[in-house]
Subunit: 591 residues, 2 copies
């Protein structure tokens, strides 16, 4: 037996006990006639003491232990002389009697410590050492606890977890698929699922009534900080439900997670905002509502006073940063630079301070009377000491998105985005379609199976289908879309109309979704569902900036796992067996 | 709201309540002035009654409902005149007051009933309808319950579920990988994991101490009845453990599953048998021990009496089928045909009946005295009425495997393989290596990281490494290997020796497993683990003959999903983006 106790469980009540511990040497230091070793495992750190007086050889051996050596030690628990209140085992130490080196260790390339000296790349290459750090391991322990609680909640609500297949068929609609050549079916490929969407709808047709799955999904997209080629969804679907049923049940799940994981009791119903209002007041379909700072539109007040930029704008709007009138010119210039960055793309920024006497002092004073500026102030309900920031542009939606970025930046600067504060809301009434300039046609905003609101169905026959609202909903927490879903179409004729509006010929619809459409002919129940992004939930609860830190073995921005060096080349015989050949365009090799 | 109750929950205590139900029409029948409809959902079946007297139109409408129509009905619960004791809702019915057809259904291609008329192929093509059958859905409900219990048990034991990546690197050793071309890394491929083996070992290096994962694994093998290209493992690993620790913990899990799922209390320790004995007595490393019928070797007794077949054999062995002396000549001929089938490959079978007077009457009487036959009888401890069946051959291992098939077949015929009886055991002391005729070298019987038994380590330097036993163990229930695992090598020099013995050059070992070997240099703890096959566990508990029936959407023997028609062809643009081209050999197109 390698141990009788772990390194985190011994307390003052255990004094005098004989114990055996195993673990990693956090550090070993010689002091006077003693060697102190901090022994670490998943459960904690325990101090070992070797004394020259009782066993000089052993004490000498202990002093030579390197960092991260794996050792087994037996000894007696005793009370410490100088206690360490910072760790749960800080009242005791082990007077070591035997020492067995189970394995040696090379010097790690970075310190195994919450405040490590290792950079991102190094830590990813040695992820197995990075995972030894408590702050990283804790994220994965949290992830485990969250999935346990999700399953407990959904199981108690009558949901059945069903595994849907990973090797499915590629569909051209949507994002890019990862594909898998089939050796047994030469020239044909499986695709890895972007989500189990169609299968969960089939399970509803099968009468499973309440389905869930915590499941890996795959998307071959160019990566960003919060994107991974493989990610995990909490995927759910229910039958015989309306939007309200789904929202109620999954709001309940969110509250269950807040209670069990974060010990936060959320008793109020989550606020709801329409997509239209979210765009109008926050310029985003996932507004961060930990703080207010809503947009105020200023076209009526600010247009037509001779300031060319505003006079030619189709949208003028701003935010009021409470108490930020003290921003220096330098800070304001930095904000202007911020909104001018190509990623954001604003042309400039107008600012106005409300002075202590109530007067408004702006960067465009020469165009506006104090009276107009006071009108503006009132539109914001701004008070002395507040700072007003205004953007304008010739595309309302684009300008709102720029203003959204500014709002988030200012809130960040003002400390309004506290990671331990949570603001949850539902965004509802999404448009069913969005117009794609690129494709020159309307596309499904969610997917082609999303149901329009019953009262908007007549609009499908009209000239402006952009106005049709969907029975779709997203849950947003602190500006992060943690999940979303919709009520699905279960009526074949409505589904066919949707495909027609999306530009599918009946043949194309049949070719791509034929098996689902066929299934729907055999008694599809009304149904709807939701998918939560597990990685995002965990990041949010762990207070992380990137989902990468809550994934055990993430990939980098090139989709590479630098630790195992994947992807990699195949043997020619493997390619031959799979009936494929490499066909790399020359410019790709160079680039 | 589509329903206030489901179709399985109403009881006599609910009489007089007004309820709304939704579900599928199992059948509708007109009798006298009434229409009776059996309404089905996941939770059960409830009888609806429409009466001409109270609403003739509604009654008429109900009588026209087709099978599998989706309807919503409101009405009053009342006590049935003629109760149905076979279903939990059999005491009541709903006097229907409204009827809303939510969706129509085409006539299903087979009856949605436990005793369906649909053949395998048809049911797979319409799997979403097959899943409506209670007997199929129950298997998936069982699967859900089992995974919940597995997680409860392991969580309570301090295990953390960690998701390991699905897009990893291909390793030539082992079975064939499914691969995924990387668009972002032209010419390179990911592989889908055959198991998370290396990652779970890394997690032990990371100090996770106790890891598990219920995880999809992939193997591109030619398929058999109990193989699927994707399958699910309960994958576990522990640090600072010896074989006994792992066996104890996972025997505990098996007992927990038997108790919570099958309500079977297993109090005894599971028996253990060495691999050597399992081969000797059962000709299999996964013996079915629901019945005894151990092999008895007969070389000493039966060789050298002039019966050429036995005289030239290097193995003669048999089984004693209790009370089967009444087998007719026809039955015995059928058994002989059975062992002669090419899949089994025996040349013939000798039989001997023990008659009521104790005399033995055999098919080779002319070569043996009654005295010799009595010796043989005694070797089996056979009694009057018993039947002895004997095989022989020039390869002991092959003949034992033939005898194993015979043993299972006879037991099947004698009704000894009751699916509601469970016999669990551990097979231990597997050989570390097995000689591959094909490769002309020793191969790892499990994988190259399996630890030899410490007492056998010196044998690694000897001439017969085939004798080295591994710290490896399989759990076998009713002849099914439900799981297996081993203690791993955590010492670099021992690992290097293993690679050398397996014919790897240091460069090859480094190329294929370098990242794991590197990780092991930074303080690897002693560790070991086990993986259970979830599909097999569920099949066993559900009493199924194939794992297919406990998988929601399985693939057929060509690796195809006939419902969604996967795999399928890609668009040329997809191939181009992935930097691959089809390269199908002509003979493959034809075949």
């Amino acid at each position: 037996m390698y141990r009788t106790k772990n390194c985190g469980e011994l307390r003052i009540a255990d004094v005098e006990k004989n114990v055996t511990l195993s673990g990693w040497v956090q550090r070993a230091r010689k002091m006077g006639g003693m060697t102190f070793v901090d022994l670490r495992d998943r459960y904690g750190v325990t101090q070992l003491v070797f004394s020259e007086d009782s066993n000089a050889d052993l004490c000498e051996k202990a002093s030579k232990l390197g960092r991260e050596y794996v050792i087994q030690v037996s000894g007696t628990v005793r009370e410490r002389q100088s206690k360490n209140a910072n760790i749960p085992t800080g009242d005791i130490e082990i007077a070591a009697e035997t020492l067995n080196v189970l394995n040696e260790s090379k010097t790690p390339p970075f310190t195994i410590d919450n405040n490590t000296d290792g950079g991102d790349e190094l830590r990813m290459k040695y992820r197995y050492l990075d995972l030894r750090r408590e702050c990283v391991r804790k994220n994965l322990e949290l992830r485990h606890k969250m999935t346990m609680e999700v399953r407990r909640y959904l199981d108690a609500q009558g949901f059945i977890e069903v595994e849907t297949p990973m090797l499915i068929a590629s569909t051209p609609e949507g994002a890019r698929d990862f594909v898998v050549p089939s050796r047994m079916n030469p020239g044909q490929f499986y695709a890895l699922p972007q989500s189990p969407q169609l299968f969960k709808q089939l399970l509803m047709v099968s009468g499973f009534d309440r389905y869930f799955q915590i499941v890996k999904c795959f998307r071959d997209e160019d990566l960003r900080a919060d994107r991974q080629p493989e990610f995990t969804q909490i995927d759910c679907e229910m039958s015989f439900v309306e939007q309200e049923d789904v929202i109620t049940l999954f709001e309940g799940m969110a509250k269950h997670l807040f209670k069990t994981i974060r010990n936060v009791e959320l008793t109020e119903k989550f606020p709801r905002i329409t997509w239209h209002d979210a765009m109008k007041y926050y310029g985003s379909d996932k507004p961060d509502t930990r703080f207010d700072m809503k947009f105020v539109e200023l076209m009526d007040i600010m247009k037509g006073h001779g300031f060319g930029v505003f006079d030619s704008a189709t949208y003028i709007g701003g935010i009021c940063a409470k108490g930020a009138a003290s921003y220096t010119r330098k800070q304001l210039d930095a904000l202007t630079d911020f909104v001018r960055r190509p990623q954001i793309g604003a042309k400039g920024m107008v600012y106005a301070r409300v002075e202590s006497d109530g007067n408004v002092k702006s960067s465009v004073d020469k165009f506006y009377t104090q009276e107009t500026l006071q009108q503006m102030k009132n539109a914001f309900a701004a008070e002395p000491g507040d700072l007003i920031l205004i953007l304008s542009g010739d595309d309302a939606m684009k300008t709102r998105k720029q203003l959204c970025e500014l709002r988030l930046e200012v809130a960040e600067q003002l400390g309004m985005r506290d990671k331990n504060k949570f603001s949850c809301l539902w965004v509802v009434d999404f448009p069913l379609f969005e117009y794609s300039e690129e494709e020159g046609r309307y596309m499904a905003m969610h997917h082609p199976f999303t149901s329009p609101k019953p009262e908007d169905v007549p609009l499908l026959d009209g000239s402006d289908i952009g106005k049709v609202r969907a029975n779709a909903y997203d849950m947003v927490i602190n500006g992060v879309e943690v999940g979303g879903g919709s009520i699905r179409i279960f009526d074949s004729s409505l589904q066919n109309k949707m495909f027609r509006l999306l530009g599918f010929t009946p043949e194309q619809a049949q070719q791509q979704f034929g098996w689902l459409l066929d299934a729907f002919k055999y008694g599809a129940p009304p149904h709807g569902g939701l998918a939560y992004g597990l990685d995002r939930w965990v990041s949010l609860f762990a207070g992380l900036d990137s989902i990468r830190d809550c994934i055990a073995f993430p990939k980098n921005n090139s989709g590479r796992d630098t630790m195992i060096d994947a992807p990699s080349k195949l043997e020619p015989s493997q390619l031959e067996e799979l009936n494929i050949a490499l066909d790399i365009k020359e410019n790709k090799i160079i680039s």
